[in-house]
């Protein structure tokens, strides 16, 4: 059978080694990545509370999800403190601005489907895949916290999936439009942090591929066919 070149293997193992958490370059990159995570959790909290205003009968459950996000935010703040890093929050606010704007617009228009796609599917799928890739290269303190967080995020993803699945007949069109409007933003966000993520030994291609895998899985659960999903996913990849 084919024998594959061994140099590729050794290079890859080198890339899997842990970074030096104490260097200035690591801390500098971490100040932005960590801020994105903190801001993301804060916005997730706010978004779930907001979605509760559109779905009053589920407001209680959504408030529960929101509380979990605040707990995560505190955990990630502790991670920064542990490394002696100050999170660059202004950067993170700007980073989320386009997605934040789209969410607020959908909220004002009462578009539950769009709000759920942005928060409970796109952002959660992105978070889950990024956390999975971060865990093996995280410092021991952050690793433990992130492992706890990622379990919770599946609950949130599941919430979005279940609602969209139950309402698929009426929300399909809006779902596709929301995907077209927002998936390219996620890709741009990913490209924007690729350099910092690389310093943390998180590979851009891995991030994109794992995100698309999580996203595809979520849409599959919602009840879309693999062709519909491939078409939707292509919005992020092509063009």
């Amino acid at each position: 059978m084919a024998t594959l070149a061994s140099p590729a293997v050794s290079e890859a193992f080198a890339a899997d080694q842990l970074p030096d958490f104490s260097t200035d370059s690591y801390k500098d990159a971490y100040s932005r990545i960590n801020a994105i995570v903190i801001e993301g959790e804060q916005e997730a909290h706010d978004n779930y509370i907001s979605i509760g205003s559109l779905l009053p009968d589920q407001a209680e459950e959504l408030a529960k999800l929101a509380r979990m996000e605040l707990k995560h935010m505190k955990g990630f703040t502790a991670c920064a403190n542990n490394l002696g890093v100050t999170a660059d929050m202004p950067f993170a606010k700007e980073f989320f601005a386009p997605l934040h704007g789209n969410f607020q617009k959908a909220l004002a228009e009462g578009k539950v489907t769009t709000c759920l796609l942005i928060q409970a599917i796109l952002i959660e799928a992105f978070a889950i895949s990024a956390y999975h890739i971060y865990i093996p290269v995280a410092d021991p303190f952050a690793r433990k916290i992130t492992e706890g967080v990622v379990k919770d995020e599946y609950t949130h993803l599941n919430y979005g999936q279940e609602w969209l699945k139950a309402n698929l007949d009426t929300c399909r069109e809006e779902l596709e439009q929301a995907n077209r409007d927002n998936l390219p933003l996620v890709r741009k966000m990913l490209e924007q942090v690729a350099g910092d993520a690389a310093v943390l030994h998180m590979d851009q291609e891995d991030l994109m591929a794992d995100f698309l895998t999580s996203y595809q899985e979520a849409l599959m659960e919602v009840g879309l066919t693999s062709r519909e999903i491939a078409k939707m996913a292509a919005a992020a990849l092509v063009g």
């Binding site: 059978m1 084919a2 024998t3 594959l4 070149a5 590729a8 293997v9 290079e11 890859a12 890339a15 889950i128 895949s129 999975h132 990622v150 599946y154 590979d203 291609e205 891995d206 994109m208 591929a209 794992d210 698309l212 895998t213 999580s214 595809q216 899985e217 693999s226 062709r227 491939a230 078409k231 996913a233 292509a234 919005a235 990849l237 092509v238």
Partner: protein, 356 residues
């Protein structure tokens, strides 16, 4: 349910396939797009055995293409993600086709059981190598005599003798077929010596030394791009079984008396209407497939939900007997040479596999 994990033979072919299947957006993407693309469950199908039993299956394209071989992390992720997708779809036994099992073994992915939130259950997967080895041996046994080669008097060279399939082929040919002499060719000396000891015979030779002596050559190693075979130095007749992947031996060895047969390929007893195989490099894609794929189908027919072929050098003659008997029972035939004296093939039109 059985599963098959496959991939396209080139990036260009992958794009063409994507277009045909209605994934136009992916078809337009460049190689980087394909590197990030998740695996796709592209087809569900049913298969009906010669015994009448019907089973369900699925074809998963890993979205890997050979152009990604030099990208270790990409290749690793493609294989593991495709396996994850198979498991998440509840597929009981999935064959790792083409480069999938090669990447799995060479990159030692046994260490990578955890992928995201999924712990891969190895018992759901098979390399399909046991069936491939059995098919190759049967191809030697049935085709050599048709060329006038008496196996009891023949020297059979096995190129890639120490690999998982190669060592199983050596074991079978020496203990079951009874060839005059095995010529053992492989890159690493120590595994060759170990194999020779295990077999209690066989002569260790370099490729250049072995070829002129061989009546039959079984190739189960990939061929280096630079390999050239001088037909003048080969015996006539010479049966060459191309059991490697990809199958490109016919472009390297041709001439009077040289008969190259695609190794490890089986033909089902009736037509298959799956879309995926239409694109594979089979002469009769409605019926032919890699023996490793067929192994997953056979294990599902037999209700054997276990990693039947797994790891290296675990293929026993008993396992080859078992899978070989199942192969015949359920309606698979090994691919044979087409000789000028052969009558035209009969036309079978009864469909046995229909998309679900």
């Amino acid at each position: 349910m059985f599963g098959l994990i496959g991939h396209s033979t080139s990036f260009e072919e992958a794009r063409a396939k994507a277009r045909t299947l209605g994934f136009e957006e992916f078809a337009d993407g460049d190689l980087d797009v394909w590197c990030s693309a998740p695996p796709q469950l592209v087809e569900r199908l049913q298969v009906t055995s010669a015994t009448g039993k019907t089973i369900d299956g699925a074809y998963i394209d890993s979205c890997f293409v050979p152009e990604m071989l030099s990208r270790f992390k990409t290749a690793r992720r493609k294989v593991l993600s495709a396996m994850e997708l198979a498991q998440k779809n509840g597929i009981d036994i999935t064959a790792l086709g083409g480069f999938t099992s090669i990447i799995f073994e060479n990159f030692n992915l046994l260490k990578e059981q955890q992928i995201r939130s999924t712990t891969l259950e190895w018992e759901r997967f098979t390399t399909g190598n046991t069936h491939t080895a059995w098919v190759i041996c049967r191809q030697v046994e049935t085709n050599a005599p048709r060329l006038g080669i008496d196996l009891a008097q023949a020297r059979v060279a096995v190129v890639g003798a120490t690999g998982d399939i190669g060592s199983a082929v050596c074991r079978w040919l020496s203990q079951r077929t009874g060839v005059k002499e095995l010529l053992l060719v492989a890159r690493q000396p120590q595994p060759l010596l170990d194999l020779q000891q295990e077999l209690g015979g066989g002569r260790i030779l370099s490729l250049d030394e072995a070829l002129p002596e061989a009546d039959v050559v079984v190739w189960v190693a990939s061929l280096p791009q630079t390999l050239s075979i001088d037909a003048e130095n080969l015996k006539s007749p010479c049966l060459m079984i191309d059991g490697g992947y990809p199958k490109n031996l016919d472009s390297k060895a041709n001439g009077e008396g040289i008969h190259v047969l695609k190794g490890g390929i089986v033909e089902f007893f009736s037509d298959i209407t799956w879309q995926m195989m239409e694109m594979a490099e089979m002469d009769n894609p409605k019926r032919q497939m890699f023996a490793c794929f067929a192994e997953a189908i056979l294990l599902e027919f037999e209700g054997i939900h276990t990693n039947f072929s797994w790891g290296r050098n675990n293929i026993t003659l008993e396992k080859m007997d078992l899978i070989g008997a199942a192969s015949q029972r359920h309606g698979f035939h090994t691919l044979g040479l087409t000789l000028p004296s052969d009558p035209a093939p009969a036309d079978h039109t009864q469909p046995a596999l229909t998309p679900a």
